[in-house]
């Protein structure tokens, strides 16, 4: 029976070549677009999935009396909070300071370097490809590279123990390499070095006071922490230490998950826009499919009547139509997958790649998108 259904479906599709082609084209372009949009949304929502126990990770957000909000505080605040609060399990800055030249083997690389406390890997569970997370940033002259930067400088070689020159003056030893991080992640990292190095820079020391808010702080708190009470405690510390305590309206503990949209607000608009566009395109695809099917209804009504007269059940007739549309949709999914991988994803990377980095599609990681497309 199924063979018969498939045979009739294929002959029907072949007989109505123009209609089938229009259907196939509409569906392929539509599903390809939806696939691309949903993939970028999926990539966005899964970008930080390698950071476990996110519910207990917070960053500090300051609002001043004129209503302006920013994710920075004066540099010494974090140390003050850590030393005075048993609720803090681990804490780290994530501090950029210029974009130094890294030199290795006679080649120079201009890469982003962020300075963090050794506790960084106790706050964030980012997996390491090489190195021991407990000791990776213990020494002042250590550096941890992202997989991308490691490949750029050292190729496929294990760079552990190699020396990198920073701005021709400083020598750092590679003590770890991170596993690849999604470009949509909260972290836009290149290399991680110790904040102890920053304290040797006079320009940094000049700013690292209680008057200048320029540093981002992350804290892992005990799950039983009373957030409101803890925020009052931070406010007290600010009042006590800030050069101008009256300028601060509040310092809030914000969930880690909010950081991406807080630091780049346009991301939220892009993601909401992508979801809305995907739903809209899907709706158009469905209406198109219904319209094209309806246009053949008159002729098909005769077929249905004949089949019923010959003894077909309602279920068998529905199965026939489902198989016919199923063949069309499945073929469209295959074409749209080719369209997605060959044209739309490279185009997406071309548009957003410069700002957010390039995303890649792997079946092992991104199979839910395929399942969504099939559903």
């Amino acid at each position: 029976m199924i063979r018969n259904h498939i045979k009739i479906s294929l002959r029907n599709l072949w007989k109505n070549k123009l209609l089938s082609t229009l259907n196939l084209l509409g569906l392929s372009i539509g599903i390809g677009s939806v696939l691309t949009l949903m993939f970028s949304v999926y990539a966005y929502y899964n970008a930080d999935s390698n950071v476990v126990d996110q519910a207990n990770i917070y960053y500090l957000k300051t609002t001043n009396i004129s209503g302006d909000s920013y994710v920075d505080t004066p540099y010494p605040l974090l140390k003050e909070i850590s030393e005075s609060s048993p609720e803090v399990v681990a804490a780290t800055h994530l501090q950029g300071w210029g974009m130094p030249w890294l030199e290795y083997g006679g080649s120079d690389f201009h890469e982003r370097v962020d300075y963090v406390e050794p506790d960084f890997f106790n706050v964030f569970s980012l997996p390491l490809k090489y190195g021991n997370r407990e000791t990776v940033l213990e020494k002042k002259n250590s550096v941890v590279l992202t997989d991308k930067v490691s490949r750029k400088i050292f190729g496929e070689k294990n760079p552990m123990g190699e020396i990198i020159k920073v701005d021709d003056t400083l020598s750092l030893t590679v003590t770890g390499v991170l596993e690849p991080i999604s470009p949509y992640s909260t972290f836009r990292l290149g290399a991680l070095a110790s904040t102890q190095l920053l304290e040797d820079y006079p320009s940094f020391i000049a700013r690292a006071n209680w008057a200048d808010s320029f540093t981002v702080n992350y804290l892992r708190l005990n799950p039983t922490t009373n957030i409101a009470q803890f925020e009052s405690h931070i406010k007290e510390l600010a009042k006590k230490n800030y050069a101008d305590p009256n300028i601060i309206a509040s310092i809030k503990l914000m969930p880690f998950a909010d950081m991406r949209t807080d630091s780049i607000p346009v991301v939220k608009t892009i993601i909401s826009g992508s979801i809305a566009a995907a739903v809209f395109v899907l709706l158009i695809v469905l209406i198109n499919l219904l319209n094209l099917n309806a246009s053949t209804m008159y002729r098909r009504t005769k077929d249905i009547a004949v089949r019923k007269i010959l003894g077909s059940s309602k279920k068998e007739i529905i199965t026939q139509f489902c198989i016919e549309n199923g063949i069309l949709v499945f073929t469209s999914i295959l074409i749209s997958a080719l369209l997605f991988l060959g044209l739309l994803l490279p185009k997406l990377n071309m548009i957003y790649g410069a700002d957010f980095g390039e995303i890649t599609f792997t079946v092992a990681n991104d199979y839910p998108v395929i399942l969504f497309a099939m559903a």
């Binding site: 029976m1 002959r11 004949v306 010959l310 003894g311 059940s313 068998e316």
Partner: protein, 228 residues
């Protein structure tokens, strides 16, 4: 074999109620060939739909093979239909996407006959209808007469007790029309009961009895040949 008593069927809109069958009664014996005649709109097609278990009457009784079938639900009607009734239509109603072989095979698929037996039975009936050499052709590649032979082959493939024919020669020239009527006569002689709706006096003469209808009622009944 068929006993209908005071059969009624209405078609109603909000304003008008049209009576298609008005307390129609007649019997058909097993092995009989009955022609139903009458002007357009007299209720012939409605009658055929009810006799073919495609539609349910609004009143009266319809006994088929000793079973009261008026009021049967769609599933029961379909079950009874596919094992007992074959249809032949004026416009052949073959499925364009299927070959001659596949069209004739379709009722056997719906009754769950195994592939090997299906092949044997389809080939036998195509041989009998002298259309075996066209088995791989599609309906649009055949003449009207050939298409109607295929439709008759499809109607008899399940060895139905009853064949309902709706103007079976309406779209055929006289030579092809006579061939189809000869085929129906042969089937009837082999024991199949046939009820045929027709406008053609010529075709009606092939039957044993002619029932003439007007406004949903039987007006006359001419017996052409007595059957035992």
């Amino acid at each position: 074999m068929i006993k209908i008593t005071d059969l009624e069927k209405y078609y109603a809109t909000e304003e008008v109620r049209t009576i298609a069958l008005n307390k129609l009664s007649f019997n058909v014996k097993k092995g009989e060939f009955v022609a139903v005649m009458g002007p357009s709109g007299c209720g012939k097609s409605t009658l055929l739909n009810i006799l073919g278990l495609l539609d349910d009457p609004d009143g009266g009784s319809f006994v088929f093979n000793g079973i009261e079938v008026a009021g049967f639900n769609e599933r029961k009607r379909a079950e009874l239909r596919k094992h007992n009734i074959g249809f032949v239509f004026q416009s052949f109603n073959l499925i364009d996407e299927l070959t001659v072989f596949e069209n004739v095979e379709l009722p056997l698929i719906y009754t769950g006959v195994k592939p090997a037996e299906r092949k044997e039975r389809v080939e036998a009936v195509l041989e009998k209808m002298q259309i075996m050499h066209r088995r791989k052709h599609f309906p649009q590649q055949l003449s009207g007469g050939q298409q109607q032979r295929v439709a008759v082959a499809r109607a008899v493939i399940n060895n139905p007790k009853l064949i309902l024919a709706d103007e079976p020669t309406g779209n055929l020239d006289s030579t092809n029309g006579n061939e189809v009527m000869d085929l129906l006569t042969e089937l009837n002689e082999a024991g199949t009961t046939i009820i045929m709706v027709t406008h053609s006096e010529h075709d009606a003469k092939y039957s044993h009895r002619i029932i003439r209808m007007l406004d949903g009622q039987k007006v006359t009944e001419n017996i052409l040949m007595e059957i035992s």
